[in-house]
Amino acid sequence: MELIWDGIREAFRLIFTGDAEVYEITLLSLTVSGAATAIALVIGLSIASVLAFRAPPGRTLALSFLNSGMALPPVVVGLVVAVMLWRTGPLGQLHLLYTPAAIVAAQAVIATPVVTALSVVALQTLHPKLRLQVLALGASRWQAAWLLFREARLPLIAAAMAGFGAAISEVGASIMVGGNIKGSTRTLTTATVLEVSRGNLESAMALAFILLALVYAVMLVLTITQQRRRAS
């Protein structure tokens, strides 16, 4: 019990004394997972639009793969991305291994099936003829996509939250492709794992609380956006 209180106290101390390293780690976690979620959204919404509106043959099969992808083990993703980025691997020329970009890539791979699968369902809740009506109103393809995404914003923002949740909470892939390098690729999750392995449970608890606070802050912003009644 005392450990928890010490952890919380340490967390507040780190936050309010402006510990540079903790701020750096937190900021990296936020930007890396944010970027991964953004990539997942772009890819996911594109695929979801095709699957939901065009109803191509093999849609159910594709959806079953995407749904399985929601349970993709981060360790497996980390391994595959690491192999791809390995010096002698197919993308080795990019020299991305052990950089934040590698973590973004791995987390995007983890978040994309989540965002895609949930976006397909979100778009399928729209009236099947709404897309035709929007086009008939004189919308270009992009305008139509924007109007339809806006119409499905509640479940789509939920999809984004789930994607961000999957990205920021994983640790296996980040360690494998990022290497947990201090000042470069250390994120809140990888730092926590490190502190635990060193036996610094108090610091680990502090990092864990900061991670939870960060997740809550992001989800709060998204939830407010989601639930705000249409103003115009």
Binding site: K129, Q133, A136, L137, G138, S140, L147, R150, R230, S232
Partner: protein, 369 residues
């Protein structure tokens, strides 16, 4: 003659390899309302989708201003507006829904607000402008949908059964409003419906579509009084369709043998030709059998036996046997006065001008080549 605003040529739409729409030629002129009437599943909505450039036909082409479409379809779509059976409003206020097409076209805010206000008022929903579209009744939502289309001042307005889901009083009020609005603009309108009375009410011309094909096009009175074939006649509410044989032409009237009874028709016919004799139920008058025919213009008066009487609202439908099956519509009052019942003997009269003849394509009589 001016070029048609919108038209199709040899359009073919297939689903699963089966043709569901095959239209050789159909045009609508500026300022004209073309009512396309047909039963459910006749291909009406598909026709609207093709005209609205929302579905590419597998064959044929769409003409705008008499010319084939060139380049991107978006500029063409922006000169049209479509109203579907479901209002399909966005999750926003009525005002922003009605203005949505103008926003997509980049119309400046001042002008947008002015035009939106005008059309909200025009359809009597200005009080609802700030309301969420989700809270509207069916009639209010369809008004908003019509305003959203007409605020665009489209050159072509396509209406896909816009009143089908509305209750009767709402429907009637909305048809009146639309009729007035269309009368004031130069918009070419295609109005698709399964309801014959709506087609008669709104159409400057009527096209009958059955089984994916346009069977007949013409002024409403002509289409309704002279259906081109048996299926068109049956769909348009001609209840009596019986085969006959043209005996002679006497004094401009065709004398036809229908199951041994003599029927005179003021319609073009060839002697010795086989025809289908068509009669609308409202044109058949039922009177007591022993009654002496007073001064009446009805050329045809046949003894008949009542087979069945069916009440349909303020009217009654009387199935008669006049040597051939004959259907009459009479008022509740006449039903009581005549005290009609199955088995009653009556006289059925109708004017020679009420009879419409469809020439039978009897290949047996054609000389072989």
């Amino acid at each position: 003659m001016t070029l048609p605003k919108l038209g199709v040529r040899s359009v073919l739409v297939e689903r699963g390899g089966r043709p569901i729409l095959a239209v050789e030629e159909l045009d609508v002129q500026a300022g004209e309302v073309l009512a396309v009437v047909g039963p459910n599943g006749a291909g009406k909505s598909t026709l609207i989708h093709v005209l609205a450039l929302l579905e590419r036909p597998s064959g044929g082409e769409v003409l705008f201003d008499g010319r084939p479409l060139r380049g991107s379809l978006l500029p063409y779509r922006r000169r049209m507006a479509v109203v579907f059976q479901e209002p399909l409003l966005l999750d926003a206020t009525v005002e922003s829904n009605v203005g949505s097409g103008l926003v997509l076209r980049g119309v400046p805010r001042d002008e947008r607000e002015r035009r939106v206000r005008h059309w909200l008022k025009r359809f009597g929903i200005e009080d609802l402008s700030g309301r969420s579209a989700r809270t509207l009744s069916g009639g209010e939502a369809q008004r908003a949908s019509l305003a959203r289309a007409l605020v665009l001042e489209p050159e072509v307005l396509l209406l896909d059964e816009p009143f089908a889901a509305l209750d009767e009083p709402t429907r009637r009020a909305l048809i009146d409003d639309l009729d007035r609005v269309l009368g004031e603009t130069d918009t070419a309108a295609v109005f698709v419906t399964h309801d014959r009375s709506e087609a008669l009410r709104l159409g400057d011309r009527v096209a009958v579509i059955i089984g994916g094909r346009i069977r007949q096009v013409g002024p409403p009175t002509q289409v309704f009084s002279a259906p081109a074939d048996e299926e068109v006649a049956a769909f348009l509410g001609v209840e009596t369709i019986v085969p006959g044989y043209v005996r002679s032409i006497e004094g401009g009237l065709a004398v036809i043998d229908v199951s041994g009874r003599r029927v005179e028709a003021a319609a073009a016919a060839e002697v010795d030709g086989e025809v289908l004799v068509c009669l609308r139920p409202e044109d058949v008058v039922v009177s007591p059998a022993e009654d002496h025919p007073g001064p009446t213009s009805a050329r045809n008066r046949l003894p008949a036996v009542v087979r069945r009487v069916v009440n349909i609202g303020p009217l009654a439908r009387v199935d008669l046997d006049a040597g051939f099956p004959l259907v009459a519509l009479i008022t509740k009052q006449s039903l009581e006065e005549l005290s009609l019942d199955a088995g009653s003997r009556v006289a059925a009269s109708f004017k020679a001008t009420a009879v419409h003849l469809i020439a039978r394509h009897s290949r047996l009589h054609e000389p072989s080549a």
